[in-house]
């Protein structure tokens, strides 16, 4: 946004008065180019506006409104309101509509609005009121007699932003100040309104750690899988000091997928180990106690799985 805002006002004033039909001819009619632009833009705008009315999803409505607004910016520029055209893009399309979209995301972008009417008679009343308004407005606008348009050629002599600035900071300076105050107030109001008072004390690292201890969870990493593996030791449960398999030592993903190896497969070996026979070099009991850590694998094949257990144990929790 910032490059755009900085970029546009700097160049346009010098460029536009000559490039765009800010003036009207003697009969008070716009140029043909402007007519073409109008007739291209107007249907798009009306359709987009109807999209706002009929879109099921709020995001679609917001997007169609953006279309209307950008088209409006074109029209402003066409009509000699260069400054407003830029502001329209920057403030409306850039800031306000983005704010809308932001809130939409916050509320839930998927929320489709049911178009079923819940208030009895509201739809008819709304349609009649809107149509009535259209008829009245159109009637008035078409029936009224206007003076011969003078065009902004004279007013925009020093470029449109300069002319607008002259007015704002001379005739309308008080309103300008008031509006400034209003903006500040609105910003504060929004802060106050969206502020939520903290009802519970903030949870820091210390509090979270205390909670974990109080909750009785595993504080240390979960036990690593066993080492009685032939191909991948990750799927074999570790054994507790009594020789029972520990389920939680196998990574959760493997357990969910059913890729956990059955400890019974290794029962014979375990029994042998427990009996002390098969332990070729090491005494069985200390070995059993240390096997979960996998620090001293009796079997050379188990070496492949030694890295995994520490990380997967963490994951599984």
């Amino acid at each position: 946004m910032s490059p755009l805002a900085a970029h546009l006002p700097a160049h346009l004033p010098a460029l536009l008065p000559t490039a765009l039909p800010a003036a009207v001819d003697t009969a008070g009619r716009a140029s043909t180019g402007e007519a073409v632009l109008f007739w291209v833009l107007a249907p798009i705008m009306v359709i987009a506006a109807l999209g706002l009315l009929f879109a099921r999803k709020a995001v679609h409505a917001a997007l169609s409104l953006i279309v209307v607004m950008i088209s409006l910016a074109f029209m402003y520029v066409t009509q000699g309101a260069v400054f407003l055209g830029v502001v329209q893009v920057v403030v409306y399309t850039g800031a306000i509509m983005m704010l809308f979209l932001f809130v939409l995301m916050l509320v839930g972008v998927d929320s489709a609005d049911s178009l079923v009417e819940t208030i009895r008679g509201q739809r008819w009343i709304g349609v009649i009121a809107a149509l009535g308004l259209l008829v009245v407005l159109g009637g008035v606008l078409l029936a009224a007699t206007y003076p011969v348009p003078t065009g902004l050629g004279e007013a925009n002599a020093d470029s449109n932003p300069v002319g607008v600035a002259h007015l704002i900071f001379s005739d309308h300076v008080f309103a300008m100040e008031v509006v400034g105050a209003l903006l500040v107030t609105a910003a504060l109001g929004a802060l106050v309104m969206s502020h939520r008072r903290r009802l519970t004390p903030k949870r820091g690292q210390r509090e979270l750690a205390d909670l974990r201890v109080a909750g009785g969870h595993h504080l240390a990493p979960l036990p690593a899988p066993g080492v009685y593996a032939r191909h991948n030791a990750m799927d074999v449960p570790a054994l507790d000091p009594y020789g029972n398999p520990i389920d939680s030592s196998v990574p959760r993903v493997l357990r969910v997928r059913g890729q956990e190896a059955d400890a019974n497969e290794y029962a014979a070996r375990i029994d042998r180990v427990l009996a002390g026979g098969a332990a070729r070099d090491v005494t069985p009991d200390p070995e059993l106690a240390t096997t979960p850590g996998g620090s001293a694998p009796p079997d050379g094949a188990a070496g492949a799985g030694t890295d995994g257990p520490t990380t997967t144990g963490e994951e599984a929790r």
Binding site: V24, L52, A62, Q79, V87, A130, L142, G189, R196
Partner: protein
């Protein structure tokens, strides 16, 4: 081309905006309808400014934009806080005015 076309377009947009306000239930869309109405007014102001050859209409439109910005800020804050408490952005759910 006659400048009245702009005015009529503005009237159409205004009517569609008002219909949106009346017919949609999502508070955000209702709000967008209001923005559409404001924009339609701005278009009319700009057109009249051009007709009369004076920039006051544009100044007024500028103020409308500023006020609209302020309004949007507050309005969206309201919608967010309502959504937070009621888990809904439907204007029909906010009928506490009725006892």
């Amino acid at each position: 081309m006659n400048l009245t076309n702009y005015l009529v377009l503005s009237g159409i947009l205004f009517s569609i905006g008002s219909a949106t306000v009346l017919l949609r239930r999502n508070a955000i869309i209702v709000f967008m309808g209001i923005e559409l109405m404001l924009n339609a007014t701005n278009l009319m102001l700009v057109t009249f400014s051009r007709m009369h050859g004076a920039l006051d209409g544009q100044v007024l439109a500028f103020f409308v934009m500023v006020v609209a910005a302020a309004e949007v800020v507050v309005g969206l804050a309201i919608i967010v806080s309502i959504y937070r408490t009621r888990r809904s952005a439907s204007v029909d759910d906010v009928n506490l005015l009725k006892s």
